[in-house]
Symmetry: C2
Amino acid sequence: MNTEDIIKEVKKLIKTIIPPSIEITNIELEGPDIAIYTKNIEEFANNNDIVRQLAQGLRRRVAIRPDPSLLIETDRAETEIREIIPNEAEITDIYFSPDSGEVSIEALSPGLAIGKHGSTLNEIKKRIGWAPKVVRSPPIPSKTIREIRGYLRTVIDERRTFLRRIGRKIYKDISDEENYVRLTALGGYREVGRSCTLITTRHSKVMVDCGVNVGSEENGSPYLNVPEALPLEKLDCVVITHAHLDHAGLVPLLFKYGYDGPIYLTPPTRDMMSLLQLDYLKVAVGEGRKTPFESVHIREAIKHCITLRYGDTTDITSDIRLTFQNAGHILGSAIAHFHVGDGLHNVAITGDIKYEKTWLFNAAVNKFPRLETLIVESTYGGHKDFQPHRKESAQQLKRIINQTISKNGKILIPVFAVGRSQEVMIVLEQLMRLNEIPKVKVYLDGMIMEATAIHTAYPEYLNNQLRTQIFQRGENPFLSDIFVHIDNAEKREKLCDDPDPCIILATSGMLNGGPVMEYFKAMAPDKKNTFVFVGYQAEGTLGRKIQKGAKEVQIREKGKPINVGIKFNVETCDGFSGHSDRKQLLNFIYNLNPKPERVLMCHGEESKCLDLASTIHQKYNVETRTPMNLETLRFV
Amino acid sequence: MNTEDIIKEVKKLIKTIIPPSIEITNIELEGPDIAIYTKNIEEFANNNDIVRQLAQGLRRRVAIRPDPSLLIETDRAETEIREIIPNEAEITDIYFSPDSGEVSIEALSPGLAIGKHGSTLNEIKKRIGWAPKVVRSPPIPSKTIREIRGYLRTVIDERRTFLRRIGRKIYKDISDEENYVRLTALGGYREVGRSCTLITTRHSKVMVDCGVNVGSEENGSPYLNVPEALPLEKLDCVVITHAHLDHAGLVPLLFKYGYDGPIYLTPPTRDMMSLLQLDYLKVAVGEGRKTPFESVHIREAIKHCITLRYGDTTDITSDIRLTFQNAGHILGSAIAHFHVGDGLHNVAITGDIKYEKTWLFNAAVNKFPRLETLIVESTYGGHKDFQPHRKESAQQLKRIINQTISKNGKILIPVFAVGRSQEVMIVLEQLMRLNEIPKVKVYLDGMIMEATAIHTAYPEYLNNQLRTQIFQRGENPFLSDIFVHIDNAEKREKLCDDPDPCIILATSGMLNGGPVMEYFKAMAPDKKNTFVFVGYQAEGTLGRKIQKGAKEVQIREKGKPINVGIKFNVETCDGFSGHSDRKQLLNFIYNLNPKPERVLMCHGEESKCLDLASTIHQKYNVETRTPMNLETLRFV
């Protein structure tokens, strides 16, 4: 159905559903949404059922938006809000959602902002047109989120134009010719790093993830330079499963080389992704390396983000619908489920999954309305890849810390800023609270604090217990005074020289650059110290070499190679992993509902992909495939 | 190595090999050849070893060409030749090969053209510069060949420009980055018809075959509209294994949509291909169907042909060398062997093969210097696909003919113009010569006579016996007076009305249009007559329906559907096939030297591909793959 037909259908449906008292001023296709503009926005708000009926009748996403004539300009609106709300409410942020005509007011004392029986809010509404919403300020303010909101406010018109262009493309007429569904492996197949997959049909071309292999000597890019991917302008959209660099690191590069379509991702993934991309640039610049893109391209990426929540089914092209489901791996991580054609085929790409409830997240979802083809990560797919239980890991960490501190040593834990850091923080806070380890300082370097802040801004993406603990019981482990933020070179140097025992969490997680390198250099030569790996170390990274027992390694300092002798104790705590171990992967497949026709392996070293494929085939009698990068499979 | 480097290397080598008495006037890269221009062309001609040494030293094709200043313009040269050579020599054609500076003079009495001790030739050489070569006129003149030669004479300059452009492209510098070798199935996989394969490396993109599925209701084109193939300008070259429409029918379409690179094929394939493409247009126009291209695109294709003989190894891109080997299927049919990189990988695509010596050709070659991947046709790969021996088939045909003639019936044999026609002609001539069947007329309709003429123009592509029989013993079966050419509708109509028993060979071979349709309509309702299939009938064709025993079929007459009841006797003589049967395919694989690492199936219905793949895997312990159209496999 094309734009005209859709709008006709909407008008027809509106006549039967919406009471004549509600005035519809405009209907537009904006990105995947059918946007209905009205001057009577409250009547919709008071009658949720109308929206539900519209969405069901149209089988599309419907968004009710206030007629633009009602809304005053955002800067003026902000001034008005700050005038009306008393200072004691302590506003920490004000941000506008032009899509919904809402303005969110973050305040430390929400009650004072709302006023008696909502009187202050009513006053605001009357003066600015925007619907005010008061929310409690997140426990830790995030610079990233504030900047993204600020930036988006400057590009409201541009974004509206962009969304309408995309809307027309999604709702275009397509021919009845034989359709097909293909997958092209562009990166991250039979390897870990640079994840990138193309899903193509006769009418659509969707890229899923666009990561960088941070352990690669060369540029570590997926095969973007092949005819299947070029020209980038011909991609319909990019879907990002989660924010880690090996899945999203090169998204800005796409914009550098001409892509200008949407990026579909969850809201936390958008923010985390930008944070990690900026950090990637920073680390590269710090090491004097050439960067594959500039910060302007990160902003372009942000401008083109269309966020979707778990479970929202959305038309992303003329013949593909996308639904994200929780993947359990990091904040906002998602399994991407694609429904192609009218029941032609269903493909799900897991991204990275944790099929176990962790300290932070619920276990990955593995129920789908339909599913013929599954692409599953295989990081720990080898026949020996069993991880200890999370509780055992905490005990192991406790033992390591106690032993090291008793020798007056320091503990260095290299972490991804996102995911492992927060898990380890929760465990350390608990161990100290229960006096199981001495109360030493836990220093957080790199982006860890900022990533933690983003976690607290999206409580609905955390598991129930943690959410309850933070928001209902007011016991936020992240706010414990054991944590000390290190945010400059001076503090870092001082910490390195400090003889007192302590615990340091620093990025990057695989020792390919970042602040962890300074601590590593300072601490490696002293056998009192301990080095603890809590995450996956990819082939080719310095982390992998150290984990494998190297006695001396070469690193670069200001562009020059230097040798570092390794005397400190090296330990690995596997149970903190955000990846499913082999047993969890097999359980994930076993419990899949429905059972797919075929399972493809990705995101694992070659032997692990082959090993897992063969076991799944034998155990569950499902066709398995282990494509190589640059191969294309056809499902229909 | 780039153009500059190559030319430097040539100059250096020339100094050490060529005596200073020989003056080199220019060195150019022309298509795959290194062309060395000289004013002393005879000295080269007298010393073959110099060229051999140059070619070996450079590891490239070397062509010695006369300096253009020596050659007079072709029209004037032709006038001079005709003046000098006496009329009694009976010149039938004169054609110029600007590449070699030769002019070929076809004459019925070659001796008279040469003159005493070559005196006439010497005189010609002196007056026109071109080196004259006298050849005996082929027994049957071919209009196709005459027209192609005539056309090429009008585009000599254009072709030189084209060849130099291609030369520069082939000898360009390439980077040392990781290379890869991939195959994309664009048509003719798990099906018969529209054969089309892409071989891609980091530096090259080669299309092998570009056929049309003549049995298809829709356009029957390979998947040319996918990103892997587009834009067509980005293809480095097209390689054609043989002339049949299911392998070469849509080559002109490539030129219609912007391709302007070379087509590599054997000399007979070029001529046969043009003939069949023209006939394809003619048939389509005759039936009022839309044609996918025009005759101007066929001419474009001819202009871009670079012919290679069996066994000539040729650089076709910066990292691929091609060698054609005899495939035994039809005149000029070839197995295409690709050597990628400097020993990186070797792939051979069989095209259609006959692994048995036939009345016309030697058996397909299956020895290669190196071979890791083989793509083999599977037309008769099913476990029941055994053909009778050729002699048995001749006996079967004899029986059928005798039975039909004894009932005063006619025999209609639908044939491909190229291949099966000539085999059946040889057998019929022999049966009549030996009085094993009555001497009735054998009518040839469609392009059969013309195709036969092309066969006699390329005796070096026929098997030894036939060549000896025709050219040494002077017994040309094709010239027997039993054969009568039908070349217009009037004759055809008269023949249909003629009550006398006879044998009719008519195209097309699968009853998708062509003159055979007229005979079919006239003869099908009479049970005295017999219909004999001697070639493969693809799924979806009318031939297949009749072969399967349909009692009534619908055909189109002047665009309108009409029903034809089938009463005549339907027979199949499998032994005339130009395809290997299952036993021959298995023997071909078994006798391959060297044994490849993997074998891919193509050009067979799905079940036959799977069946053959499984048998080869089990019997010979080789990896087998049965890609689907639109899939891409990677070998390195």
